[in-house]
């Protein structure tokens, strides 16, 4: 399942076992929302997997748990053989909002991870490499509010990748971009993925994006969040957005989502992994 084209594999496998999470309701602390219900998934090293589902189905919650920013009520999470207990530089996270530090220049934003880990001195050369990789050399001294949405998101990607994460978590990273920028950025993320072999988990509600980019697509259902179906996408890369197979997959998933929407109350099936 590891992408054949990956030249090197920095990625690590990811396992989520029977994870559940509740949140207190904001207007009634005694009542609790069931955000995730016994979710299990397993991603091989270097694999690119998408999580697709309606908003509020717990995709972002799952991502925060994997990042270590929240802890589950029950269940376990592993990266390789290590359990996830707290945030770490080996699990990068990119949000829909680039969340660049506005007080740092583009270059210093990219350096942030190295500074945080006290490695800036030995890895300074790598910063230049990453500036080139995302094509932002000329913006090194610009502040984030001067950047367009696409540029800011490229900086956010470089900032996450400079730590050489074993797993990169992408929470609708391209959701706020216009259609053309988004398609260009998809290619850019794929290029980075193929070059580095990083394991990637992409949350999106753009079905085209999921089919275009991922090895597998996991469909999630709402309240409580569960993984309803898993689809293998075995189209050759680079993929054609208008090929008949692509379009067939697209209509299949649309049907599944529609079907899933009707059937959740009856089936209550275990997550397919």
């Amino acid at each position: 399942m590891v992408a054949a084209s990956a030249t090197l594999t920095e990625g690590s496998s990811l396992r989520v076992l029977e994870v559940s999470k509740h949140f207190p309701k904001p207007n009634d602390p005694a009542a609790r929302t069931h955000a995730l219900d016994s979710v299990s998934l397993s991603i091989a090293a270097g694999e690119l997997v998408s999580l697709v589902g309606p908003s509020g189905c717990g995709k972002s919650t799952l991502l925060r748990l994997i990042a270590g920013l929240d802890s589950p009520d029950s269940g376990d999470l592993w990266v390789g053989t290590e359990p996830i207990t707290s945030p770490s530089a080996e699990r990068g996270l990119v949000f829909q909002d680039p969340n660049l530090f506005p007080w740092l220049t583009v270059r210093r934003n990219i350096e942030a991870g190295l500074v945080a880990r006290g490695l800036l001195h030995e890895k300074r050369a790598e910063v230049d490499e990453f500036m080139r990789l995302v094509g932002l050399e000329t913006f090194a001294k610009a502040y984030p509010h001067h950047l367009s949405g696409g540029m800011a998101q490229r900086v956010a990607l470089a900032r996450a990748l400079i730590n050489h994460p074993k797993v990169l978590l992408l929470d609708e990273p391209l959701g706020a971009l216009d259609a053309f920028t988004r398609m260009r950025m998809q290619d850019e993320v794929l290029r980075l993925w193929e070059a580095r072999g990083t394991t990637m988990l992409l949350v999106t509600h753009d079905i085209d994006e999921a089919i275009y980019m991922s090895d597998r697509i996991m469909l999630m259902t709402q309240r409580p969040g569960r993984i309803e179906r898993t689809l293998e996408i075995d189209l050759d890369r680079p993929r054609q957005r208008n090929s008949p197979e692509f379009l067939r997959l697209r209509s299949d998933i649309l049907e599944l989502l529609h079907f899933a929407g009707q059937a959740t109350s009856e089936t209550h099936g275990r997550a397919l992994v």
């Binding site: 925060r64 990042a67 270590g68 920013l69 945030p87 770490s88 530089a89 699990r91 990068g92 996270l93 949000f95 909002d97 969340n99 530090f101 506005p102 007080w103 740092l104 942030a112 991870g113 500074v115 945080a116 880990r117 502040y143 984030p144 509010h145 900032r159 996450a160 730590n163």
Partner: protein, 345 residues
Amino acid sequence: MNTVSVQAKRSDQWQVTSDKLVTRHSSLVTSSSRLRTLVAIPLAALIALAVHLFVSKSEPPVDTRSYSTFLGMVLGASLVAVALQPFWSSLRRWMAHMCPIIAAAVLLLCSWEVITSGFRLLPLPYFPSPAGVLQSLINDYALLFDSTWHSLLLLLSGYALGVVIALITGICIGWFPYARYWGMPLLKVIGPIPATAWVPLAMVLSPSGTFSAVGLVALAVWFPVTMLTISGIANTRASYLDVARTLGAGQKYLIFRVAIPAAMPSIFIGLFMGLGTSFLTLIVAETVGVKSGLGWYVSWAQGWAEYGKVYAALVIMAAFFSTIMTVLFKVRDRVLVWQKGVIKW
């Protein structure tokens, strides 16, 4: 079809002539407004000088000579500036911006003189003429300079002390829930008491007047800066902290490289508020305890009924405080350079 095109043509012509009119009109406006800015200061200075010479005939010549010289200098400098401006573009821009306001200031001085020495509408010695104030300023410049120097030392040491303590308390209370639990109630009870209300206690507790004044200024600065630092730190966007954590940041990085920079705009608001209260506290502290400084000078001059000196000290204070404000604005522009184009104050 024909008529339409004719109409179109006619309207084009009309358009052209009206455009011409507009440009001519606007060039007229700019040239006349430029002329106005150029002659504004010389004219104002001439009027003020004429009024002064007419009004001050009855005054002793010693009191009025330096004011005449002053107005003469304003007139001379403005004429030199007018002569230089065709060759110096940055001076031209500065003049276009500043001439009206400087001319208005000169005319204000003139009307002050008309009200005081001219019609004698206000009782002496409480309201001396600008000539009298200028004379006091010149006569007493050594003591005024010394007082300003003492005020500056006191203000800077008090302000620096207050800011350092405020940043430490503010960051602790803003970041650590434990510090917040114990610190916040104390801050809410002690903070709002005006620093000047501590004067009696400060006089008893401290070994010297200077010492207590520094303490009072520090206390005055401490409250607003602490409050705004807390609010800035506590309101750091959670997503910045989340991102930093996933980049491998530890507690130190989160506080010093994320929370504090994120709080900087808020901290600067506190620094400006603190500067305002520190001016007030400085003058009060100097009036009641310390035997030097501008606050002391004002009350001392008032004791001798030398109101010319009181006003002279006020003029110095205005220049002194606004200079310090300007310096803080410059520091702010430096530190918050990343907000350039975003902030509007």
